[in-house]
């Protein structure tokens, strides 16, 4: 019982972060209200989101008080269960198709997205694996085996198809490998190669307008349209074009809550403006001030994760915190980046803001893990 109160004391110590998370989630409800109030089919969305937040914080607290090393120890089993669920979404009887993708699993009364839970169990499993490989951490095999662990869920999720969600696993993998202490160039070289390829693609396709061998014309078009959405403003360039107009027309102060014409009049597609394209709603209605505040808040959460990693009692804790940080970072950067034309449009939500039960619960649970690392950190154990 004394332990519990000590843990509670640590939690209170980090209460600004808890309040920040709460504030983000509540802000999210308001944005979702604005994005859905003209849509009768979604009029329950804000209330549902509130329920998810409550469930999410329940997970948050539960995990915060659970010693993370316990979870890491059972993580191989959790990982395997997750893989089974990821296969399950393709099995008739369990599968539950939404928007043409097999992302949902029906287990009795509960419908959930295993891909989101996979992110959590994957982070735990990676921490376990890297701890196990501690003695051979500099070996190339460590990297290759970690990649193998990553590729399996990636392939299964991409097959749903949910490329956006699937692609989150690689950044987590690289960040955890890097922090675990692999040779730096095992991580930097692939990233550098990818960056050089992207830049080359920009010049080759967009600036010089050259074709890529073995690529089909429609694929070429997609690349071209990413670099210049005005090539197809009504078609595949529609979302980015409208997103840029929405954010741009917000200006410094924004048009006011529920006053964004792009949002209310449906130029931001109604079926994504409350989840994946929620940032333009913020940008349009709350202006640069609101958008920047959101970015800074999300950034603060990320930095806190890193802070926790630095103060972690052990390597496992640090790895878990870094894994969670990277997962959230990828979502924040890609989600906001795609709406302001930094990265291609991909279907991934914005942590704590976007509508969606599974993802919100997973994000809060992940923060619960980080909280657990904080609560169980070295100083506390010594005390």
């Amino acid at each position: 019982m004394r332990t519990f109160f000590r843990k509670l004391g640590q939690l209170v110590w980090s209460s600004p972060v808890v309040l920040l998370l709460l504030a983000l989630c509540v802000a999210g409800i308001f944005v979702i209200m604005s994005a859905t109030y003209t849509n009768d089919q979604l009029k329950d969305a804000p209330a549902s989101q509130l329920k998810y937040i409550l469930v999410g914080f329940a997970f948050y607290l539960a995990l915060a008080f659970t010693p993370y090393r316990l979870l890491v120890q059972v993580s191989p089993i959790l990982y395997l269960i997750t893989l089974a669920m990821l296969v399950g979404v393709f099995v008739p009887g369990f599968k539950h198709k939404v928007f043409g993708a097999d992302s949902w699993l029906k287990l009795g009364p509960v419908i959930l997205e295993p891909a989101e839970f996979a992110k959590l169990t994957y982070i735990l499993a990676m921490a376990w694996f890297l701890r196990v490989r501690e003695s051979q951490i500099k070996s190339i095999w460590t990297v290759l085996m970690a990649l193998a662990l990553t590729v399996v869920p990636f392939v299964l999720i991409k097959a749903q198809p949910a490329f956006g969600t699937a692609s989150v696993f690689f950044p987590i993998c690289f960040a955890m490998l890097f922090v675990a202490g692999v040779r730096w160039y095992y991580v930097v070289l692939p990233l550098a190669t990818a960056s050089i390829l992207t830049v080359s693609l920009y010049f080759w396709v967009h600036v010089w307008d050259k074709p890529i061998p073995f690529m089909k014309p429609f694929q070429m078009d997609r690349i071209k349209i990413f670099f210049d959405p005005s090539l197809d403003p009504k078609g595949s360039g529609w979302q980015i074009t409208q997103s840029l107009i929405a954010i741009g027309s917000g200006g410094m102060k924004g048009k006011g809550w529920m006053q964004g014409t792009q949002n209310v009049l449906g130029y931001l597609p109604k079926n994504t403006s409350y989840n994946d394209l929620i940032f333009p709603v913020v940008g349009e209605e709350e202006g640069f001030r609101g958008g920047a505040a959101l970015i800074i808040c999300e950034g603060f959460v990320l930095l806190w994760c890193l802070w926790v990693a630095a103060r972690a009692r052990d390597k496992i804790g640090a790895l878990v915190a870094v894994g969670v940080m990277t997962m959230l970072f990828t979502h924040v950067f890609v989600n906001i980046g795609m709406t302001i034309h930094l990265v291609p449009i991909t279907g991934i939500p914005l942590p704590f803001i976007s509508y969606g039960g599974t993802f919100l619960i997973v994000c809060l649970a992940a923060m619960g893990l980080v909280q657990s690392v904080w609560v169980h950190r070295k100083n506390f154990e010594r005390a």
Binding site: I245, I247, T261, G266, Y267, F288, A312, D314
Partner: protein, 713 residues
């Protein structure tokens, strides 16, 4: 258990922290660029795609008479508009997204294409209200499909100018079918029907989407098609206004009060003030109708400044028939009517007959070749060149001088007088008087210049004259013929009235004026046309002019005069009769169609009015036209003493060919040498050079309805 004290290397976390900072910085920087730097263009794009501008039609400027009596104004017209895209969407929503389609030609890749069958959708959409409201106007399928393809955001006007019963029915039952609404637009209304129809003209829809665009690049609802409406169209048009609505990405419009500030009210066009006096116009119109005139014209002017007070052409039409759109049947009827109701006879040139003698008299006096007292022997007929020229009554009148010759309108006198004066003097005076010249009151296109014939003119028309008349030089006989207003001479009623103004006012030829100014919607006067613009002077000695005036006074006031029927008790007037021989082809034969003139001014001592009456198919200027002029002058004088003239809505004057008489079959066809011409009271039948009533090739014979066909829509 994995419990251990392994720690991660701090620098690796540091690099991640830097990455997070860099990434957040990148996002913030990019957000700044998108939201602050490019804000204006994004805002414009946003406004452009979320607002739709609807045009508010401007009202056309009114046209009123010199005292502000409205002759053409605007009334509300109710239209049923279809918003085709709304109809389609509504149909789709109530039919589970299924709409009837029509196949289109395959695209270039051979894929099948189709478009919504909008006509079918419209038919089904209006079916419930169609019977209730009696909307029987057939759907123009081609027009609807074309409108749907090109302007589906703009309303399609299905029916225009609904009656009030239908409008009330529609509103009362609140037949709120999405995409069908009633809109109110200004429509032209001519207050007094056919009154001054030929001056006002009419308006019509634009022929296409590019004709005469307003300042916002959209075509005006109506465009002036004839008369003053046409030539002053630009100044009469108003400025369209606009109102803005929000439009969703699905195309639904959403009211947004914040856009109210952007709305622009339409401004009405300038009000045009004519010089016409509606009462004078009404007097002239009714005088012609009372006399049963089937074809003719009246021009009333103010000799003190050249203002046109009335200008009538008979037969006429009701310009309201053209609003909002004349039916094909009505338009064909107007165009195929052989009496040509659309044609403005006040601006059409004809032989002036003896009215021309006044100008010839002044020409002779000015030339100095003759004077007021120069006597001429006036037998029943005289020999000129190889031809015998008869006086109209073929009796010997003895010797007479100018004043008496005007009074009795002696042809034999004026044959000799004209020859003595010389054709050059006649032409010079004619030019001063404005004959052979278009006054351009209603645009040059619809006005004849007339002909001031002479050696010069003959040279210009040499080829044509040789071919049609077999003459190649100017002869004394032609001068003689010209002197009595026959032969090649052609003048318009307006020219004669303008000339008579100069005679009445002591010799100043004023530029005739039909409008004085415009007043814009603020009440500011614009585009003023000053009164009493001098065109030229007759430049004859006052004593000579007095003599001519005296002759004209005797025409009316003396018992011997030819125009005694124009006498108005209590007033002294001066005038001159004229009867020009003319022929038309009708029903395959040549018939006589006399042009009988009378023009006068009064009161003699201080002239205020000049009146010129032309009747086609009359019998004699003194008996047909003088009484009409008498009625007009009498009622005009009465106005000045306080009588009230109640101007009322006028039905169109019907045309006829009464007074056209058969002629002996041995007469040569008009337009050939030897065709007959008459002087005032008769006809020098052996006159060699008299042309028919249609001497110019561009004046086609009656019976060809295309001749004065005007476009109307």
């Amino acid at each position: 258990m994995l419990a251990d004290d392994f720690r991660v290397e701090g620098w690796r976390l540091g690099i991640l922290a830097l990455l997070v900072f860099a990434a957040m910085g990148t996002l913030l920087n990019r957000l700044w660029n998108v939201e602050i730097v490019n804000s204006d263009s994004a805002r414009q794009q946003s406004e452009a795609q979320t607002t739709v501008r609807s045009r508010i039609a401007p009202a056309r400027g009114a046209i009123c008479d010199r005292y502000g009596v409205m002759l053409a104004e605007n009334r509300p017209s109710f239209d049923i508009d279809f918003y085709l895209d709304d109809l389609r969407r509504d149909y789709a929503e109530s039919h589970h997204g299924i709409v009837p389609t029509l196949p289109l030609p395959n695209d270039k890749n051979g894929h099948k294409r189709s478009e919504p069958d909008i006509v079918e959708i419209v038919k089904q959409s209006i079916a419930p209200i169609r019977d209730m409201l009696g909307l029987t106007a057939p759907l123009n399928e081609k027009e609807i499909r074309e409108h749907f393809r090109t302007d589906r955001d703009l309303p399609y006007h299905y029916m225009t100018d609904l009656d009030f019963a239908t409008v009330a029915n529609f509103e009362e039952r609140n037949l709120g079918v999405t995409g069908i609404s009633i809109s109110q637009v200004p429509a032209r209304h001519y207050t007094y029907g056919a009154l001054a129809a030929h001056i006002l003209g009419y308006v019509g829809k634009p022929f296409n989407q590019t004709e005469h665009l307003a300042s916002d690049g959209t075509p005006y609802e109506t465009i002036g098609r004839d008369g003053i409406e046409a030539i002053m169209d630009e100044r009469l048009q108003g400025e369209p206004g606009s109102s803005f609505k929000r439009v969703s990405s699905q195309g639904y419009t959403i009211p947004d009060p914040t856009l109210k500030a952007l709305d622009i009210d339409p401004t009405m066009g300038n009000t045009l003030y004519l010089t016409i006096d509606a009462r004078a116009q009404y007097i002239a119109e009714t005088a012609m109708r009372n006399a049963g005139v089937g074809r003719g014209a009246v021009v009333v002017m103010d000799p003190r400044n050249g203002d046109v007070l009335a200008m009538v052409s008979i037969p006429s039409y009701d310009p309201n028939k053209f609003i909002p759109k004349i039916t094909a049947k009505d338009f064909d009827a107007l165009n195929q009517d052989p009496t040509k109701p659309l044609f403005n006879r006040a601006l059409h040139a004809l032989n002036p007959g003896s009215t021309y003698k006044i100008m010839v008299a002044l020409a002779g006096l000015k030339s100095g070749n003759v004077d007021v007292n120069t006597p001429f022997d006036c037998p029943g007929a005289i020999q000129i060149d190889d031809h015998l020229f008869h006086n109209s009554d073929r009796t010997d009148a003895g010797t007479m001088s100018l004043v008496h010759a005007i009074c009795v309108s002696s042809d034999v006198f004026f044959y000799q007088y004209g020859i003595k004066a010389g054709i050059d003097a006649i032409d010079a005076m004619g030019q001063r008087a404005g004959f052979g010249h278009k006054w351009g009151l209603l645009g040059e296109a619809n006005e004849d210049a007339g002909i001031l014939p002479g050696p010069e003119w003959m040279k210009e028309k040499e080829d044509w004259l040789r071919k049609t008349h077999n003459i190649d030089h100017w002869s004394k006989a032609q001068t003689a013929n010209t002197s009595i207003g026959q032969g090649f001479v052609l003048v318009t009623p307006l020219q004669l009235a303008t000339f008579l103004c100069a005679v009445a006012n002591g010799g100043t030829v004023y530029q005739p004026r039909l409008y004085s100014h415009f007043v814009d919607y603020n009440g500011t006067t614009k585009y003023e046309l000053p009164a009493a613009q001098v065109y030229s002077t007759l430049d004859v000695k006052p004593s000579d002019l007095k003599a001519v005036q005296e002759g004209m006074r005797e025409v009316i006031q003396s018992d011997e005069g030819t125009g005694t029927r124009a006498q108005v008790p209590g007033y002294t007037m001066a005038g001159k009769t004229g009867t020009a021989q003319a022929y038309i082809r009708m029903d395959g034969s040549v018939k006589q169609d006399l042009k009988t003139w009378f023009y006068c001014y009064g009161p003699f001592e201080a002239p205020r009015y000049v009146c010129c009456v032309l009747v086609e198919g009359g019998s004699w200027g003194g008996t047909t036209s003088a009484p009409i002029a008498q009625e007009i002058m009498r009622r005009l004088f009465a106005l000045d003493t306080g009588a009230v003239e109640n101007v009322a809505y006028l039905q169109p004057a019907q045309g006829n060919f009464n007074g056209v008489t058969d002629v002996e079959t041995h007469l040569p066809a008009p337009g050939t040498p030897g065709a007959p011409a008459t002087a005032d009271n008769g006809s020098p039948l052996d006159n060699p050079d008299a042309p028919s009533s249609t001497p110019m090739p561009d004046l086609p014979p009656i019976g060809n309805p295309a001749s004065s066909t005007k476009r109307a829509h």
